[in-house]
């Protein structure tokens, strides 16, 4: 069960309101993705098609699949390895009127223990001689959460996203992007499988497990600034900073810098470095003093204090440069991300024979591979 993808869906749905004054290009993408790290492998395809019609509209459709095989640290210490599949379908419609662009979208995601529907609406406009694009977005998501092996368990979650974006041309070589987003959640926000641990001297290992209990509301604010600079030669440098805070007392900072360099013969190379750090939720603990210690208790490592770094290398190759039949151009692309996670208050319980709370802190690396082909027509 994963619900975090919904956050991405909502964000991207809201973020669709871009490029006011110009409809998105007609293109088709076929992507194969692979994630491997921390005992988890996730693979699958993503197909995205977008087409204009009647000069004022553009429709898009996306088919996405995650095939998950998980023996993560959480699974091997408190449950059994599992496999599952998630399928997601999205459709969207853009409408262009003068310098205004409107967008509506719908996404459905299904897996054996989770169902989610998301509606989105956005509007954007170019102003100030088309130097500035302002966009506003709203999304509403409704999820139904189940639990494998428990047919009586069914919970609901509602999510709302409010988004403001501004992109600004500063000079002939420099663009600026600002983004603010508030997200509110209400309902069942737990992972229904994960558990907290507490000290229990009656057991050989000195601790026991019980189900997590999260607050039923969460509100978060995030703001980001990004810049993209055209170098004196044909290449681009970009940087981004994001600050985040929520009512669970998590705060986070994200910094990213990257470089894109096309060369002759149709190749484009890309390098990227991303650094992320966060503080823990106020109800998180790796080891609680006793059972039912407080009203809300969580031990998700995603809610702990940790830092991660990601290094990306990518390459694109123009396979169709001067058109072929109805295809205007096409590219082959490959991206490899190496991610490194180090946790500061989430311990590795695979290590036994030590006193509870003295196990080493958990860390893991992951490799993420994307291979995709794109055609413009």
């Amino acid at each position: 069960m994963k619900r975090h993808f919904l956050i991405v869906l909502l964000s991207l749905a809201a973020a669709r309101v871009v490029h006011a004054g110009v409809l998105p290009e007609d293109r088709a993408d076929v992507l194969l993705h692979s994630y491997d790290g921390g005992g988890v492998t996730i693979q699958g395809p993503s197909l995205l098609v977008r087409k204009q019609f009647a000069q004022k509209f553009s429709v898009s459709a996306n088919h996405y699949v995650d095939r998950v095989s998980s023996a993560s640290i959480d699974v091997v210490t408190t449950a059994s390895p599992y496999e599952e599949e998630r399928t997601q379908h999205s459709v969207g419609l853009d409408y262009l009127h003068d310098r205004w662009m409107m967008n509506i979208g719908f996404t459905n995601s299904e897996e054996n223990d989770y169902s989610a529907d998301t509606f989105s609406f956005g509007i954007s406009q170019d102003i100030f001689g088309d130097l500035t694009t302002v966009s506003l977005g709203y999304s509403l998501g409704n999820d139904t959460v189940g639990r494998r092996g428990d047919t009586t368990f069914s919970e609901e979650t509602e999510r709302q996203h409010y988004r403001l974006g501004v992109s600004q041309i500063l000079t002939k070589n420099l663009m600026l992007g600002l983004s603010f987003e508030t997200i509110t959640d209400e309902g069942f926000l737990n992972n229904p499988y994960r558990q907290i641990r507490y000290l229990d001297t009656t057991t050989p290992q000195g601790y026991s497990y019980e189900r997590e209990v999260y607050p039923r509301t969460r509100s978060s604010d995030a703001g980001s600034i990004r810049m993209r600079y055209y170098m004196p030669y044909r290449a681009a440098l970009h940087a981004e900073y994001r600050q985040y805070g929520d009512t669970w007392d998590i705060s986070a900072d994200t910094f990213e810098i990257g470089y894109t360099h096309p060369i002759a013969l149709g190749w484009t190379f890309e390098g990227n470095f991303r650094s992320y750090s966060q503080t823990k939720a106020d109800f998180y603990s790796d080891l609680f003093p006793r059972s039912q210690y407080q009203n809300f208790m969580g031990r998700d490592k995603e809610l702990s204090t940790f830092a991660s770094q990601t290094i990306r290398l990518g390459a694109s190759y123009d396979i169709v440069r001067s058109g072929w039949k109805f295809v205007e151009r096409g590219t082959l692309n490959v991206y490899l991300d190496h991610m490194m996670f180090e946790y500061e208050d989430f311990r590795d319980l695979r290590v036994t024979g030590v006193a509870p709370g003295t196990e080493p802190f958990y860390s893991f690396d992951a490799n993420v591979l994307q291979f995709f082909v794109s055609f413009w027509f």
Partner: protein, 80 residues
């Protein structure tokens, strides 16, 4: 910090509303349309490959507590 960000968001929305109100006013662009060829280059796009950025965002969101403000916030370069 959350409250600070929320205030910032409210102010930004107010600024956006004011900007939209002023949209009808004529402002001389300091970067002329014919000077935007570099900005129109695909390598200057904030979201060059949406199918890839959507997947990358999904990977991060699944493993981090933070969320939001990650999409391609504009990128319209007025290059049409």
């Amino acid at each position: 910090m959350t409250m600070t960000l929320r205030k910032t968001l409210v102010r930004a929305c107010a600024a956006a509303a004011a900007a939209l109100t002023l949209a009808g006013c004529s402002i001389e662009p300091w970067v002329k349309p014919y000077e935007r060829d570099r900005l129109a280059d695909p390598i200057m796009s904030f979201d060059r490959d949406p199918v890839s950025s959507a997947y990358t965002g999904h990977v991060y969101e699944a493993r981090e507590g933070a969320r939001g403000a990650t999409g391609a916030a504009g990128g319209g370069c007025g290059c049409n």
